[in-house]
Amino acid sequence: MKKIFFLISVIALIAACSSSDGETTTSNDGYDRTALLTHWANDIIIPSYTNYQTKLNIVASNTTTFTTTPTEANLVVLRASWLEAYKAFQFVSIYGFGKAEDIYFKEKNNTYPTDATGINTNIISGTYDFNLISQFSKQGLPALDYVLNGLGTSDAQIVAFYTGTNAAKYKKYLTDLVTTLNTNNDIVLNDWTSYKTTYIANNGNTITSAVSITVNDFIKNFEKEVRAGKVGIPAGVFSGGTLYPEKVEAFYKKDVSKILYNTAIQASQDFFNGKNFNDATTGPGLKEYLDNLNVVRSGQNFSDIINNQFTAIYASNALLSDNFATQISTNNSKMITAYDVIQQNVVYLKLDMMQALKITVDYVDSDGD
């Protein structure tokens, strides 16, 4: 009898010793990650980049029109298409991995506050390399904001720069900004046609799996870009109450910061719900994943708690001025309220959701100011 017990323990020892030490978790939660990744790639990510490309193409053709015939009317048309592209960008900002990470896609598209002085220097000198890190704050959508909205206080004054003595230089810079945006997006979008296969095949649940990378980037974007960048930093949340109204998104256009913020919230909620980019149907996504694991908190579906919080975010945004710079300067307490409401969803996503999905938070974020 004793021998049998020893045999058991010896076998157990050998069996257990030969397995790994649980440093990497192997999950078998039954959720179809291949379907999830396929849906994300085909119905959300690639259509988002394609849409951004379409919008940028319109900006490019309007730029040609404007530089050929610099009139106030053409400026208005160009500016409207710029705003549409800016909105489209909010949907691709979520996916900062793969080629987008390699070429600093997000930094080149939307580093703000933009460096107006640096842009003026670039325009006059005519020599600049947009691939340099020092040039990230002198290009992209915020730089377009400056050259389309910030050169003067009226449209007439702005158009004057494109008809005056340095007109050629201003036209060149405008064209270069738009061309660079188009080129960068083409690079990422083209890469997705081949990257898609790798992406979908990486369907495990380790820290380097596609689900883990995508979810981490989604939350990183929501925490850093949407919460901190668009609201927290300008409203002085991280500066002990010192306000930075000049750090809002699209500062020179002034009245669109709320539109861009709401669009970014919408993009995040759509991704969470697995909504197709081009229509209202939903497919596999984080909501379905959580529901599949039957994640219930305080007696209700956890996915509903997150969606309710998104609703609360829109409600608090509705009380804000279209122009966040004005809102901050006149009544910042409403901005702080709006911040607290989005902060709650950051916590739900980054803490509760990650815990429920057993995904490790891995991203290395950079300094705030």
Binding site: N28, I305, D367
Partner: protein
Amino acid sequence: MFQNYFKQYTSAATLAFFRLAFGLMMLLSLIRFASYGWIEKFYITPQFHFTYYGFEWVKPVGIYTYLIFIICGIAAFMVAVGYKYKWAIVSFFLSFTYIELMDKTTYLNHYYFITIVSLVLCFLPANCYFSVDAYKNDKIRFQRIPRWNTDILKVLLAIVYIYAGLAKLNSDWLIEAMPLKMWLPDNTKIPVLSYLLNQTWVHYAFSWGGMIYDLAIVFLMLNKKTRKFGFFLIVVFHVLTRILFPIGVFPYVMIISSLIFFEPTLHKKILAFVAKLFSVSLVVFENGKDKVQQYTFFNRVQLGFLTFFMAFQLLFPFRYLCYPDELFWTEEGYRFSWRVMLMEKAGYTEFTVSDKKNHKSIRINNTHFLTAFQEKQMAFQPDFILEYAHFLKEYYQKQGFENPEVHVASYVALNGRLSQKYIDPSINLAKENESFKHKTWILPFNDTIKGL
């Protein structure tokens, strides 16, 4: 009665077996630890270490940290073979404890268990049988030793199991089947097991079974009739935990240690088998001598210390009763109390350091100062949060901040509850100090977990 107890003897083979097994297991554990690169990862790479209150001076010593591990490994081997035993076990206790105290990020109950076992072993004549020391010196060679020498080790094991069982007598564990309900699903790809582990009734069965096992196993092992069944349960239980959770060498340490409950004939058989491998004989140790319990002043001090030590072990885990609010939430009195696998707890922290006078402020990127492991552990333990806040204060003071204030936005989710705000964000943590007093800046739990 006490006098009688101290006149009872038992075979020295039991203690010698335990010494050999303990030494070898420790040596293998240390080799495993080093081979995973954990010495560098846990003790060399981090620029900041979380220390224990009162032991802030215990820190890794750069490249010499390896030396501490080497000393510890050599000592473990010397304990195993019983060569210069007293020096070896004292060195092992000191070096192992030092390693354990270097950074509380790596705190594990089983490290603490090893520390107290090795401390008790310092007082036991574990080298009087089947050891190099006793082989060379017949004066310290004994066939029988006072019974308390092995009983005390059984009591240490009993405390671990019974206290772990008592800690499971709470509503989260028994009524909600938490945290097993969160942990067991998707834990394995073994076909039938994986199906079972997704069933709710299995989560409850594991919770209740684990509680009953912990409370009952010592009694099954003490009774000769149920001992074999008890050992069978021990093997099944620990192998299962080994398969399901990343808990390293603990299952083996417990399985092997629990052999001490068997009759000395078994230990003698094992030692005889080992002796045969090395072509030596146990006969030389079978000298018929009893190690009589002496009552010199020195002996009395030793016995007094061990009595005090055991009483401390029995009482210390209950210190949490001195603190208000929920133990799982505040973790005041949580460590060193055999609370094993009771919580699925995670946190979110965002620190801001500000200099009010000069209107300077910075949002902290934790990954600049902490490893991923440290950040994870820090996020839900108040003493970690406080120590880190003080580190940030000093760091930014050197960066030119005047009287830096440290505030934290902190949220914690515990055992399947929705996350809640954890630390009062209005509190300047730089002004708060570590102590054994209740930390008033931990926000209330707003829920109750009934039970012990």
